[in-house]
Symmetry: C2
Subunit: 464 residues, 2 copies
Amino acid sequence: MLSPKDYIEKNKDAFLNELIELLKIPSVSADPAFKDDVNAAAKVVKKSLLAAGCDTAEVCETPGLPIVYGEKIIDPKLPTVLVYGHYDVQPPDPIDLWTSPPFEPVIKKTDIHPEGAIFARGACDDKGQMFMHVKALQYMTETDNLPCNVKFMIEGEEEVGSVSLEWFLERNQDKLENDVILISDTGMISKDTPSITTGLRGLSYVEVEVTGPNRDLHSGLYGGAVANPINILNKMIASLQDEDNRITVPGFYDKVEELSKEERQKMAEAPFDLDEYKEHIGIPDVRGEKAYSTLERASIRPTLDVNGIWGGYIGEGAKTVIASKAYAKISMRLVPNHNWEEITELFKKHFESIAPAGVTVEVKPHHGGQAYVTPIDGIEYKAADLAFKDTFGKDAIPLRSGGSIPIVSLFEGYLKSKTILMGFGLNSDAIHSPNEHFGVWNFLKGIETIPYFYKHFTDLKTKS
Amino acid sequence: MLSPKDYIEKNKDAFLNELIELLKIPSVSADPAFKDDVNAAAKVVKKSLLAAGCDTAEVCETPGLPIVYGEKIIDPKLPTVLVYGHYDVQPPDPIDLWTSPPFEPVIKKTDIHPEGAIFARGACDDKGQMFMHVKALQYMTETDNLPCNVKFMIEGEEEVGSVSLEWFLERNQDKLENDVILISDTGMISKDTPSITTGLRGLSYVEVEVTGPNRDLHSGLYGGAVANPINILNKMIASLQDEDNRITVPGFYDKVEELSKEERQKMAEAPFDLDEYKEHIGIPDVRGEKAYSTLERASIRPTLDVNGIWGGYIGEGAKTVIASKAYAKISMRLVPNHNWEEITELFKKHFESIAPAGVTVEVKPHHGGQAYVTPIDGIEYKAADLAFKDTFGKDAIPLRSGGSIPIVSLFEGYLKSKTILMGFGLNSDAIHSPNEHFGVWNFLKGIETIPYFYKHFTDLKTKS
């Protein structure tokens, strides 16, 4: 029987070419202008599921963008793995900072990826990682090596909050029944340090708008006499964090889980080089909540970041104007046991309450999701760890991520199963940034490792 | 002899049509894309000066945009009036808020302007007001009524800081020799309350840039662990004003002239309706420096306003990003006895010093100018007051403006003469805003009043 490694060696060019074709489609869910491309990508995913060995695959309509569903049921008595991924991508802006166009994939060698990396929007997040699972299925079906049932649920709205996913889950609980959910949309520590993400932060994303005068004003004639919406917005946002970088929204920390000293000690053992971290993103210093380490600040503590801000004249040269309106997009990363809708309400109430006289303020909740923690003593985690041991020769490190995949806690609610986050991306892959890429080595390593998860999970599940 | 009023009655349609033609040209100095239009406007101004009776007129090249110079010298022994204005205009953004296109002038009736107002960018600031002087000259030459010499200096960079004007003044001091400078680029209190602007604020305009990581980062993976340039920029700008709305830049108020109780009392006598003021610009409340009235805050006190701010993702929908850079355009209005270059340096030093660890900050001075106060006991002011008395039947009110015309103090330095600011615009004309307009009545009233200034000034000057 051909090992995953050998199978991959024979087929890697084809795999890369197929992934490249998928990456060419600008499936940007945030922008309605790309609706046709999103639909085209869904069709390609469906085709690839059938080509990989699914008995059935379909593009399912939803109130929003389609969800692709595929399955191969070999025996109802065997366990079922449900693979989740997404075929939509982040907007590519700012485009002028890409060295090659975001939707013209090209393989380039880098220091971290001497075997080459595919540069394109979505290469890592999430098309590259999602596609590993499709190719892993292809390996298992073509070598008659599939130990259990498999279902695929690949959506098109992850980057905009998976707005239709709950609708889909609600209506398809039987269809989606499974014993474990597998997701590759996170990262590993490095190419020789596999990790399993055991925690995800929650998210609350809002848009705020401050309005002053009913039109832009001349800043000479009116400057000093009226509230300037931009100055006011700055004051309000600045007040949201104190000098210890703690968030000042009343009640924000009430439900935050404090990790035990032992857990924090264990986290501190994960390999982490602060100098390399700073050098890699070109910052002179880190900055965050007092009394927590960098890794802790980025995983087990909640945050508040302004993702975008604009108002007034932002073109070339000078314009002496007091803007009528100022805007910001603000998001908070949450931790257990925050309830994201509650936090959103707390934020909204607080922000609207601190608006000074002279302006009106509007807070528009956008989307969000709960934090999630996966138990490391379950067979799901064990199976993943054994798979990494097979292909990397060492145990995986349990890792709390700073990122959010809001639907993971939704899954547990509707489908009653745990999620395993086996990521093969690297922090340096620059997801959500210009020049996003995914290592060819990482892509192929994922395809190699995933079948071992199926093997071990089926063994452990059927024994138990 | 035909009075100005009668002459205007006969020629007003022609005057309006000529102004409309000039307003069609998008002479936006802030944007190099409009360079050809700026040059075209200069040519039209030159032609109009010759048509109005100038003996010579020329478009003078400068290191930047051209300055139009014209003159009619009738007798070197007579006084000389130098008219300054500008043919460049503010950018029209945001264009979608205009009810008619900014460069397609149209006359519409409004409540304040039942005789109609010309709606276009530059209608009031400054083409309409500048053109009053050209038509006033035409009246005086065609009715053989010009009592003294006249020179015109109409530049094309006022909206971007008049960068080439000092170069021009330095090289043409003899050519520009004059006894008084006349400018119409300010406003009057209302159509039945003429005013002469006796004070202008200074200006310091800077651009600031805060840089954090060397690329945009995923706000889940990095949120909480690194300084977010937008959050930081907000904090820094917020710190520039305290809870009394005083500017916190060290040394900022050291040279600020405090007006005497009597002067402040006199200012408070000017007609001003706070409810109307608030209603007119649609604000629930005014806001400004503690212990000063609205009029004082807008004229005799210095200010700090953010004119534009941007950073991160500002498009449709959500993007969970920590921006690499955040930017703002900030301007300060200054008062006697600020030195604008000194204030710019104070600001730059302070702003760069308050940058926290984790970011780098750059402050780029853009342009500026000194504040100016005109003496109300001189013959210049007297002549203007008498002219207003002739055409309005009442004295003008001396008014301290909040706006800046930085070159006025430059003029005094190079040409050794005072400037009289006779404005015919209204605050409601929305200069620098969408739907800028200029009342037909105001335009014609200016043409009517200006010749009386020439008459009285020549009388007073030759008698003294």
